[in-house]
Symmetry: C2
Subunit: 319 residues, 2 copies
């Protein structure tokens, strides 16, 4: 009988689980709330208990599994299987995730950070279409990323794939990392709003977006893109600025790595082709000529499942 994989996508509010075939097809999915109390000390025991409970429920045995893979926030030591500094989990000290989960489940365990896991998921079963050369950029609260070459994640000395911190405008907006002008400050959900507020101040025409900003209404990245699609002039300028920086970063990733696909995912990418076509316009303007025709920009396809699918693929190393 074919063996199975377990994927775990650990987030600050929920922990998502899935049982998958070796080919990455999801057979069962469930999720539990993340209990971040007591310095996040319940999280790993909760994961162990939830996996064991569901294997009982499905009448499955640990020997039926190749392994468990998990994506997590924080800084991951892939070799040692430890995590540190995951602030939205309240994990301030080093967590021996691999040792505890292997002891608790009797199944081999591998871990990587969440953006890397999602990158693997999209490369394997999503927009990457099993390509070996893929760069994944996720536009969420922040901007994350993952670089896949020759089918494997690039970790470098540990922080490989920090695409959100590519500097696209030296001296620009201040970033949480302390630098100024990181891609994240323009192209994350909060970045888009920040661009909107800054441009609204100098905009002198008629615009619903400007009115919303001036009236102190709630302005979201979704509102900016929706208004831009409806022809709002300021919103269109904001989207153009965001796409300019994304296109510049994508072009430079292209000239450096020339991947088959650069996949754009995360909440902001819900704007779909409206976003992608505009990013591509600037990508075509800035990329090296051979790269323009050999690297293709694509929207992510797996949505929320990218995390568990990519996490599960981490366990393929135990095959």
């Amino acid at each position: 009988m074919d063996k199975k994989l377990i994927g775990v996508d650990l987030g600050g509010t929920t922990i998502k689980f899935a049982i998958l075939t070796e080919n990455g097809d999801i057979q069962q999915k469930w999720s539990v709330e993340t209990n971040i109390l007591d310095e996040g000390s319940h999280i790993v025991p909760d994961i162990v208990a939830s996996i064991n409970h569901h294997l009982d429920l499905y009448k499955m045995d640990k020997d039926q599994f190749i392994g468990i893979g998990m994506g997590t926030p924080g800084t991951v030591d892939v070799e040692k299987g430890t995590v540190v500094g995951a602030y939205n989990l309240n994990w301030k000290t080093l967590q021996n995730v691999k040792a505890e989960i292997e002891a608790g489940t009797g199944i081999k365990f591998a871990v990587d950070n969440d953006a890397n896991s999602a990158a693997l998921g999209e490369s394997w079963k999503g927009a990457g279409d099993n390509a070996k050369e893929v760069v994944f950029v996720t536009l969420g609260t922040g901007v994350g990323g993952g670089v896949v070459t020759d089918g494997k994640l690039v970790h470098g000395m540990g922080a490989g794939g920090e695409i959100g911190h590519i500097n696209v405008h030296p001296g620009g907006f201040e970033c949480t990392c302390g630098n100024k002008g990181c891609l994240e400050t323009y192209a994350s959900a909060t970045g888009v709003v920040r661009v909107a507020r800054a441009m609204a101040e100098e905009f002198a025409g008629k615009s619903h977006l400007k009115e919303a900003v001036d009236n102190g209404e709630e302005v979201t990245s979704k509102l900016v893109f929706d208004l831009a699609k409806d022809g709002d002039k300021l919103a269109d300028m904001v989207v153009d600025r965001v796409c300019y920086y994304l296109g510049l970063a994508a072009a430079n990733l292209g000239s450096t790595l020339n991947p088959q696909y650069i996949v754009i995912g995360g909440g902001v990418s819900a704007a779909g082709r409206f976003l992608l076509d505009r990013v591509d316009k600037y990508f075509q303007e800035f990329a090296f000529p051979t790269v323009r025709t050999s690297t293709t920009l694509k929207l992510a396809e797996l949505g929320n499942d990218a995390g568990v699918i990519g996490a599960a693929s981490l366990a393929l190393q135990f095959k």
Copy 2:
């Protein structure tokens, strides 16, 4: 007995050869002129003849060799072992380099482009110190590069490592590739001179560099760096601008790949630590915090030998 490697560094004026141990130590070196006449049709036969002649001379047999590796200008198909569009060799049409050299020598053959080969050489035996995660940037007539992750070159869809065409100043100097603002237009030997001429026009103080430009004297990248070291104010501003763009590109390579080393080589890097320290200043300003402390900028160490050593390492795949 230990087997040997042959490295070939094919350039527009000379072809360099070396016989190396498996560990990359050079045992014999020689070179011949590149005959680019008749659409470069003599080049491959000359390489075959020169290798066979030297094996006779040293009383060596083809069975003593693991393989031959070669670095070449132009666009290389690594799988097929073909080269096209190497204009300084007069190779306009597709060259079946691998097939012809294997047939002519009876030794297995691998080929990659020259910047990639030099990157491998520096990673293996030079500044990279056998590290598995290295980015190599060569500042010559143009700016070339090579990306090594997990000990292997990143080719992507073929144009991986085009670091010279990272856009560091959208709308900036026009590049031979057709884009505006590529790193190459600022940090190559000709780029440095271009920056000097542009800044000299707007410079109003006393400067030997300005005088040289205004008097129509020959201005070289070396002159600019020498004058900057001597305290010439304009020359110092030029060097600062060049290092700013190099530091920005290095920081973004760092945030993307977080290599152990970013190695800077090529003619312009003869300026040594004067260049490196200034690039590092901007690298520290623009790089992601974790990257600042885990990625180290270094000067290349192998000089002209990087090409043959890296080329030879391509043949290690036949071991």
